[in-house]
Symmetry: C2
Subunit: 459 residues, 2 copies
């Protein structure tokens, strides 16, 4: 009944698809944030759902943690083996199983990446909109309730996952939801699994909602004299009901990062990157209305991208923002906030982040999916400088507290993992006990990704 | 430890806000569907959340069922006291607590009705779109995951509830969600509570998402030579990506019901009732595209309603469809299916419903929120004629089976209650056990609306 005996049993099941190779363990224990490398004891590479079920049953029998692994691009340490155990690498389950164009949905295995899916969809006129920065796996995106630049228009994984197949802690395989657009038939297990970070079950299949590619798409960048002007433009735009497909805030430092990492020559001022989707007249109308608000707040230097390759380059640059931040201070680690607040409190929250981060005198950038009230303030720091690290953590802490006090959330899209676990009690209060009860009911042994989401106290 | 001792204790707490008056009990035991009147043992009228908590604690201490009651307009017997106990009438908790126009959200008590809310919102330019036929309470609508004619554009209660305050079975009060537009911070308890029909907790406050009233709104009715033509028009419209705000199918019998109940003189042929929301050019463009599809399928007799009072009359008629069905056979009871299927299977499902219901030789109508793949086939029957009742039930059964086989759901929007409980195992398979585990974890005594959603077998 140990991790070691679990590995023995798993090796019998999987042969060389169970690895204890040091490089493989290391790769599954790394992360793109600031956490120390935390490798698992072994990595399993399942090829189908029944195998996942068998693996989980073996882990259960041996009291061995099992941690689903997508692409390892999490920023909150979701996939780190903090209590050891088996990393369940889903990359071999990467088949697009069915494209139902007429119903605008698709059935995929969890290891399919968002880019792979959109490549496969290209000929259909449909696309899957959810776009976190990384080319993450769809299973990982569902597990962390990911979103990205298009959530303001198309929603997050919460709105775009229709149904799931899930292996539970006892190895049983369930199907949640259906391909119907709506249902009132019982508890919403799909939404319970989305965002549960592999702590309630292992996602082995997803049915996703697709959207029609718009006839007209128009993207633009525009510069502002200061960040307040950019933020006020966002607030006015959202409140006026203009249907944005994307509206992203980029502060002057981040623009400098883009110029370094991407070789662009944008003016080093706060920017908005926006996109409109619709029919040609609708896009024209929305863009004109938006242009009116921009000039009201002193925005300028409008650059329109109507050619797909220009737009792709723009959003690729935006998606790589985290790496562009790192390019500003290549030898340091980065930590990013992820708060999300009601849009009416956005200016206040960004103000706070700007002034407090400036006082730290570190490399700091602000970017955000501001149409949702969600933004990231990233700070570079030297992990060996304990005093500096403490100051950075204190900043993160103040911002998290602010988000909660503004009726927002400490995590708009990055998730809890191990990084935000300390805020769960404050954000959720008594409801945290309800989460614990659900966890205990579905995973009484606590073998599924232990040490994530729920503070350790009494689990 | 009985219902009687619970009533004694509750009387001490509530005084004359606990009623055992026969007429009051009767009123809370009635229903608009075909179930026998099933009164509770007492009706409590709480006035605030702490009182709900106290009531639930007393019920727990005395092992007494407690059943939240909104307006009693459920069609699946959700509020019937099948195991006796206390009906918790939320009608006194009917205050709109905060309208946050800038954030496009609102905080309400559960007893606020959808019409009351929209009255209160009128001056803001915002509205709450979810519109089941009845003027239901928002608490009841959330508890049953209600939708209506506008779900195709604005979503159901699943998409429009942002946060909840809930009293759990042990009397603890939790808050789920926040006023942020999105969050990745832990399990989605909001979505777990939405649609749980009062079996996991009592909703005592709701934060709801609002939408901007469109600059232009245009509604129309059009007639078709047969129901296939109408259904094919819907499928082509949805697949072509035209953004409908409403698209409702009405069969010829239902039109006759409207003509009787509402004094209209629509041609007795299958109709679509549609509505477009947007800017004036967008509405014009969508309406023209739709008109093209309609004529392709032989539709005619287009009647446009651009004046608000005409549109209101149209949708009021549609909302009262269940009562118009009853007007066709005033002395009988009605039973309605509520299946929802992928849009590509809608023609097949409606075909099946038309031919099978015709063979029964009963008053039958078909209406539906067909843009979502959801439709209702209502049948009138004499509850005293057991053979006839069995035939009607067999029809319902066949349609439910069909929905499941088409990867759909037995309930698009009416919920499970007691009426659809027999299909839960077939629709959800092993996932039903997961629902049971959650129920047991949150309500181990099974005092919250017992006998609903989950089949009795081992709960």
């Amino acid at each position: 009944m140990t991790i070691e005996t679990a590995i023995e049993a798993l090796r019998k099941l999987l042969g060389d698809r169970l690895s204890t190779n040091a490089a493989v363990l290391e790769q599954h224990g790394q992360n793109e944030a600031y956490y120390p490398t935390t490798p698992p004891d072994a990595v399993a590479f399942p090829e189908h759902t029944d195998e996942v079920s068998e693996i989980v049953k073996i882990c259960g029998a041996h009291d061995c943690p099992v941690i689903a692994f997508g692409t390892g691009t999490s920023l909150e340490g979701h996939h780190l083996a903090v209590q050891g155990g088996i990393s369940l690498d889903m990359s071999r389950m990467n088949t697009v199983l069915a494209i139902n164009s007429a119903d605008m949905d698709v059935v995929v295995q969890p290891g399919v990446s968002r880019n792979q899916l959109n490549e496969d969809l290209r000929a259909t006129g449909l696309f899957f909109p959810v776009d976190p920065g990384a080319n993450a796996s769809l299973g990982g995106m569902a597990a962390t309730r990911a979103s990205g630049t298009t959530a303001v228009r198309y929603g997050t994984m919460r709105e775009n996952v229709m149904a799931l197949e899930v292996v539970l802690a006892d190895g049983s395989i369930i199907r949640t939801g259906s391909r119907a657009r709506k249902s009132s038939a019982g508890y919403d297990l799909t939404r319970l699994m989305v965002g549960s970070e592999g702590t309630l079950g292992i996602i082995t299949e997803l049915t996703l909602r697709l959207h029609g590619q718009s006839e007209a798409v128009s993207a633009a960048t525009c510069a502002f004299p200061d960040i307040e002007a950019a933020v006020n433009t966002v607030i006015s735009t959202i409140q006026s009901g203009i249907q944005m497909a994307r509206i992203e805030l980029i502060d002057a430092n981040m623009v400098r990062g883009f110029n370094i990492a991407d070789g662009t020559s944008l003016p080093e001022a706060p920017h908005l990157f926006v996109e409109f989707h619709g029919s040609p007249p609708a896009v024209k109308e929305q863009a004109e209305q938006f242009g009116g608000i921009v000039s009201e707040y002193g925005g300028s230097d409008f650059k329109w991208s109507n050619r797909p390759e220009e737009r792709n380059a723009l959003w690729k640059m935006r998606h790589n923002a985290y790496y562009a931040h790192k390019a500003l201070a290549p030898d340091l680690r980065a930590m990013a906030t992820d708060i999300c607040v009601p849009i009416s409190r956005l200016a206040e929250a960004i103000d706070f982040a700007v002034s407090k981060s400036a006082a730290l005198d570190l490399t700091a950038t602000i970017i955000g999916h501001v149409g949702d009230g969600n933004f990231h303030c990233a700070l570079s720091f030297d992990p060996d400088d304990k005093a500096q690290f403490a100051r950075v953590q204190d900043f993160m802490h103040q911002l998290a507290k602010l988000a909660i006090s503004l009726n927002g959330t400490v995590s708009g899209e990055h998730g809890i993992g191990i990084g935000k676990i300390k805020y769960m009690a404050e954000e959720h209060g008594e409801a945290l006990n309800t989460m614990r009860r659900i966890k205990r009911a579905l995973d009484p042994q606590n073998i599924l990704n232990p040490g994530k989401i729920l503070p350790a106290s009494n689990l």
